[in-house]
């Protein structure tokens, strides 16, 4: 196309441009060629507009040869953009983007391997191997912390830590050495240990006048934290609507993040570590409850510090893994995808636990529904004795037990053992009748020692060894879930009709 007598214009369609540097590079390299008067590269349009003298012959093959090593390809016609979606339509037919599928499968395998390990650790119910009280040694609280860090604590605190790793990487990218780059992680863990020591001591000093019994408050807190985790995870997975939600620190903080004079940006990881003291992981609540009963600042501080030290190896591993991945540009994207999937599962795990505590429908109910079978008991054949060979009639109602009523008070009987509650009586009782729950603690362990049953009683009940009698008043008609303070003990449901 002629602009004027002497100048021609040609538009090339260029593949391979991905940033403004590409525009500059193409413009500068083309301008060096004799006869080329002006070049205008546009990343948005995927075009390069070249103004050249009419005598100049622009050889497309030569241009492509020169730019091939830089990753650019020039065309004279617009190219059909390679679809970036996993599934896309071409000429009305659905196609799979194979490269994207392979990348997705690799990410999923990595993420699910980690989650499988977490699932088995959780299933083994390691919490049942340790039981602590005021007489326990500090090493017992350390072990409790270790167990917490591979179960509910990993899901809650670990999930938050994983989600923040990428944010800290972006905020602290200007740091010049490894120590400064890892500084947010050091600050986080230091804040956590100091908070557990000082606030644990504060609990011990306060004594048992204070109690942690607000199931609704804890559920809301865990729910909000889990929601935040989901949003961060979806951003890491590059879900477009999630990326529009801004969860960054305000710019006036991030701009000053490396400044000695600005503590807000620099020390926010420290504050986050401190705030983990208030995250209601079931095991943390147990340790805090015992700290409260010590009546001593030093005892309470020691208990909480050793518990926090127990959680440190796993949380530090999460920090280290996240840091190493984000330091290698080619691994950062993979880390984001894997971590995003893991965080979403942790958030769902946390929310599911709190749904149990709140007595609301949860994923556990799906499992119970699918396991429930209505079977007609087969009539057994008598093998021995004078009636051998005859069939024995079996009553279909022999599994029903009558509700125990003593002095007009209805009893709900529960056995607490290992890491489960079992209803040893009937699961259907009468509503609006004075009811007492008898919990026979035959060795419930871990966070199962803190029972929750929203609607039947408020807060948590600390189960003592042996028989525990809990007055339920006159329960209203409805179904109620009985689980532990974190919703991890598989809930049992009782119905009042």
């Amino acid at each position: 196309m002629s602009i004027n007598k002497n100048i021609e214009k040609k538009i090339f369609y260029v593949e391979g441009m991905h940033c403004s540097s590409c525009e500059l590079l193409i413009e500068k390299k083309l301008l060096k060629k004799e006869g080329i008067k002006a070049v205008e590269a546009s990343l948005n349009k995927g075009q390069v507009c070249v103004y050249f003298s009419e005598k100049k012959n622009l050889d497309l093959d030569k241009i492509n040869q020169e730019f091939k090593s830089l990753g650019y390809s020039f065309f004279t016609e617009p190219q059909i953009k390679q679809n970036k979606k996993l599934f896309y339509q071409t000429e009305g037919k659905w196609q799979i983007n194979k490269d994207k599928l392979i990348a997705f499968l690799k990410t999923s395998i990595l993420a699910f391997s980690f989650l499988l390990a977490f699932y088995f650790l959780d299933k083994w119910q390691l919490g049942r191997f340790i039981s602590v009280d005021t007489r326990s040694s500090l090493s017992a609280f350390f072990i409790l912390g270790v167990i917490a860090s591979v179960s509910s604590c990993a899901a809650l605190v670990g999930g938050v830590l994983l989600a923040m790793t990428k944010k800290w990487h972006e905020a602290y990218i200007d740091s010049d050495n490894n120590f400064q780059k890892t500084l947010p992680h050091w600050l986080f863990h230091l804040g956590r240990l100091l908070a557990f020591f000082i606030l644990g001591g504060f609990l011990g000093w306060l004594g048992s006048g204070l109690s942690f019994n607000n199931t609704f408050g804890y559920a809301v807190l865990v729910g909000l934290v889990s929601l935040l985790m989901i949003i961060l995870a979806l951003q890491m997975l590059e879900v477009s609507w999630a990326k529009k939600i801004s969860l960054r620190l305000p710019k006036f903080i991030t701009r000053k993040v490396a400044s000695e004079n600005s503590w807000q940006g620099k020390y926010s990881p420290f504050l986050l570590g401190v705030l983990t003291f208030f995250l209601p992981c079931g095991f943390t609540l147990i340790a805090q409850g015992i700290a409260l009963t010590t009546g001593s600042f030093l005892a309470g501080a020691s208990i909480m510090l050793f518990f926090a030290l127990g959680t440190l190896p796993m949380l530090a591993s999460i920090s280290y893994t996240g840091y190493r991945f984000t330091q290698k540009p080619h691994l950062t994207a993979k880390f984001s995808k894997v971590a995003g999937i893991i965080i979403i599962f942790f958030a769902i795990y946390n929310i599911n636990g709190q749904l149990n505590v709140m007595g609301l429908p949860s994923l556990h109910d799906l499992k119970n529904y699918s396991n429930a079978k209505i079977t007609t008991p087969s009539e057994p054949i008598i093998l021995f004795g004078p009636d051998a060979g005859k069939t024995l009639s079996v009553s279909k109602n022999n599994s029903e037990k009558k509700v125990q009523v003593t002095d007009d008070i209805q009893q709900l009987e529960i056995i607490a053992q290992g890491f489960e509650y079992t209803n040893s009586g009937n699961t259907v009782l009468r509503a609006n009748v004075p009811t007492v729950m008898i919990v026979d603690n035959q060795g419930i362990l871990g966070c199962g020692a803190q029972m929750a049953a929203r609607g039947l009683f408020s807060g948590f009940v600390n189960l003592k060894p042996g028989i525990n009698k809990i007055d339920l008043g006159r329960p209203k008609a409805g179904s109620y879930k009985i689980t532990c303070s974190m919703g991890m003990v598989p809930p049992i449901t009782v119905t009042f009709q």
Binding site: L24, L70, D174
Partner: protein
């Protein structure tokens, strides 16, 4: 050998751009590498002080790049 650490480099286009600009100024660039984050490293054969200053000035004049060390 002289090395300069440059901030703002995030891709191969940045590598090529910086190399091109420095070579145009007659500076003996040996290698331009990408580092973690948005850092890069420019390696020269030994430079005198005047050349080092020229290299820094050239990079600083370019949009989006700055010399850290």
């Amino acid at each position: 050998m002289t090395k300069l650490i440059v901030k703002g480099m995030h891709c191969s286009a940045c590598q090529s751009l910086i190399k091109m600009e420095l070579e145009e100024k007659g500076l003996p660039v040996q290698e331009v590498k990408l580092l973690a984050g948005d850092r890069g490293e420019v390696e020269f054969a030994d430079l005198n002080e005047e050349q080092i200053n020229l290299a820094k000035k050239t990079i600083e004049k370019m949009d989006n790049y700055s010399v850290i060390s």
